[in-house]
């Protein structure tokens, strides 16, 4: 009986995980959810435009499409700007942006997962795939429901910086730092092997420990708007402005150091669960 229950749960999990398909070839992945973009963070996965076929995530109802970009005197009928929104069982939507369409949506209200939506353009805009959760009114990281990338490489933590006295200081072994508040920024990235090439991506989560105590944790699970402000919502809610405050460096939270020796540990994970960590012992002066 126990074996049967385990088998049943496993098959349900497998079905839910693999009933969704990547909308286009993973070989053309360009950036992940949460990548800084235009003073905000990408709400989906981006693919390089290379005339690749695009399919729905799953069967869905067409609830919005636009194959022309017309606002005011803007009358752009190219590949760019095209949008398709599908509504799926489970109160979520999949969103497809920037692709060449074949007018398929004019004839039907529903799309099957095997029906091609169009192809990624070969112009200036990359194909973007996003998932919007109607219940939580937020964009969720599509890789949380898509089949795994089967990536086995750990993220890279290149360097860690402390921001105090209005400048960034690279952490090194036994560095002397002043006591008090400072902000951590991390130069880190995920590495994924795609088409026999290694590409850099935004990692999925970061945890910061000081003397064994977890002081900051954040994961790129979803983007939610609260009172006209957009937050990265995951292990905790952090405003996007804060997340991108370090430019290309990933925000690692505010910490408070007291006099003596402290150990700062950074743990970075990718969406497949591969983990990298780095520890620094610092000398905190008064």
């Amino acid at each position: 009986m126990k074996k049967f229950t385990i088998l049943f749960v496993f098959s349900i999990l497998s079905f839910s995980l693999y009933s969704y398909q990547w909308p286009t070839s993973k070989d053309f992945l360009l950036s992940f959810f949460g990548t800084p973009k235009n003073n905000c963070l990408s709400d989906g996965i981006e693919f390089t435009s290379d005339n690749q076929a695009i399919y729905p995530l799953a069967d869905g109802e067409i609830v919005y499409y636009q194959d022309e970009l017309i606002f005011g005197d803007l009358d752009y009928r190219g590949d760019e700007g095209n949008i398709l929104v599908l509504n799926h069982i489970g109160e979520f939507k999949s969103i497809y942006r920037n692709f060449t369409t074949n007018n398929l949506f004019n004839m039907s209200d529903n799309l099957k997962k095997e029906e091609m939506i169009g192809v990624s353009g070969n112009q200036n805009d990359n194909f973007i795939f996003s998932i919007y959760d109607d219940k939580r009114k937020s964009y969720i990281n599509p890789q949380q429901i898509l089949p795994f990338l089967q990536d086995e490489r750990k993220p890279i933590i290149d360097s860690v910086y402390l921001d105090y006295e209005d400048s960034l200081h690279k952490l090194s072994y036994n560095l002397s730092v002043p006591a008090g508040a400072s902000t951590i920024y991390v130069n880190t990235w995920d590495v994924v092997k795609i088409n026999n090439n290694f590409k850099k991506f935004t990692p999925f989560s970061i945890n910061v420990f000081v003397d064994g105590l977890e002081l900051y944790t954040s994961s790129f699970s979803s983007l939610v708007e609260i009172d006209n402000k957009i937050f990265v919502s995951g292990a905790s809610d952090t405003p996007v402005d804060t997340i991108i405050s370090g430019g290309e460096l990933l925000y690692g939270g505010n910490i408070f150091l007291t006099k003596g020796n402290s150990i700062i540990e950074i743990v970075v994970k990718d969406i497949d669960g591969n983990e990298a960590s780095k520890s620094y012992s610092v000398l905190v002066n008064k």
């Binding site: 235009n38 990408s42 709400d43 919005y64 606002f71 190219g78 760019e80 929104v85 939507k93 973007i128």
Partner: protein, 346 residues
């Protein structure tokens, strides 16, 4: 004698009735071809009042007197403003504003899509979630939203945005939020169309699926209040075209096999049959009528509607991507590399 009194009284009543409720006779209107101009020529500063046009892969201006014109080939897109234009290439990411003397006035580095409404220059980001306004090359405000923008309209003072999450938002001249609302009442909440009247008093919104609804909002005590709503028979799953002519009295809404007209004063609607889809609608002050342009591939119709929505004049003509605009008394048709001026006469 009493008979005479009755007769006089009856005549008086009849006279009074017609004085109080005068009969409106339909105007006997006709189009009179005034002049045509070939749309050729290089960039020039047109001295008289001018009309912008976008026709297929060309854009430019011609004078309302039809004696001057210039035309340019559109690169990837074009923005036409009262004092110049941007003819941009998508690959460059740079938007050069050129005045009518051909001088570069300023460049904007932005890889979004530029467009103008009411002579205001906006740029929407490529992911369709940010909107900025520029004046003389300077960004005066920018807003980033967490939701895809599905429709935008503006007047001189405000901007209205419709979003994929079912909300619409009115922004002030400086981009601050003035009013946010989710119409609701449907199985799925998405804004399929939003328009604001030139005077800012009315908002016209198309929202939702099952049912898809039109709602009219009126500004009362510095807040918009819903004053009229109706379900639409044909549901669209794309942005629905709406036009509020400049007299701020009605809104025309794209429908299947015709268009709706909603009257702001009486809060009532009428469906007008048409073989083609709604493209444009303008108020013609000189005759107190509306010009409505409908069209399909290679087919067009221009009709003149009275205030009571009776069709006073209707003309079909051939042509693809035709642009129809108006002056107070004239209709301007851009077709086959020419512009034609038709004066409305009684």
């Amino acid at each position: 004698m009493p008979d005479k009194k009755i007769i006089i009284l009856s005549i008086l009543i009849v006279v009074l009735f017609f004085l109080l409720f005068p009969l409106k006779f339909s105007s006997n209107l006709s189009f009179r071809a005034k002049k045509a101009i070939k749309l050729t020529g290089n960039l020039k500063n047109i001295s008289n009042d001018k009309i912008p046009f976008i026709y297929k892969n060309k854009a430019g201006f011609f004078s309302i007197e039809m004696d001057e014109a210039w035309v340019m080939k559109i690169n990837d897109g074009v923005v036409l403003l009262n004092n110049g234009f941007i003819n941009y290439s998508r690959s460059s990411g740079q938007l050069d504003f050129i005045n009518f003397n051909g001088e570069l006035e300023y460049s904007i580095i932005n890889n979004g899509y530029p467009f103008s409404i009411e002579d205001r220059l906006f740029i929407i980001s490529r992911d369709r979630k940010s909107l900025s306004e520029y004046v003389n090359g300077d960004q005066i405000w920018t807003r980033t939203f967490n939701y895809i923008i599905t429709d935008i309209d503006a007047n001189k003072q405000s901007v209205i945005l419709g979003f994929m999450n079912g909300y619409f938002e009115v922004l002030t001249r400086s981009g601050d939020s003035f009013y946010v609302y989710e119409p609701g009442g449907s199985r799925l909440s998405i804004i399929y169309g939003c328009n604001i009247s030139d005077d800012g008093k009315y908002l016209a919104i198309i929202s939702g699926l099952s049912p898809q609804r039109f709602s009219l909002y009126e500004l009362k005590n510095y807040e918009y209040k819903p004053v009229f709503a109706m379900n639409l028979e044909k549901e669209f799953r794309k942005t629905v075209k709406m036009k509020i002519p400049s007299d701020n009295k009605i809104v025309l809404i794209e429908g299947d096999e015709g268009f709706y007209v909603v009257d702001f004063d009486s809060k009532s609607s009428k469906f007008i049959k048409s073989d083609y889809k709604l493209i444009n609608a303008r108020y013609m002050k000189g005759h107190d009528v509306y010009m409505v342009h409908t069209g399909a591939v290679n087919f067009n119709n221009v009709r003149i509607l009275a205030r009571d929505f009776k069709t006073l004049l209707s003309k079909d003509f051939f042509g693809d991507d035709v642009q129809v605009s108006t002056g107070d008394d004239s209709v301007f048709i851009v077709i086959d590399d020419s512009a034609l001026r038709l004066d409305l006469t009684e």
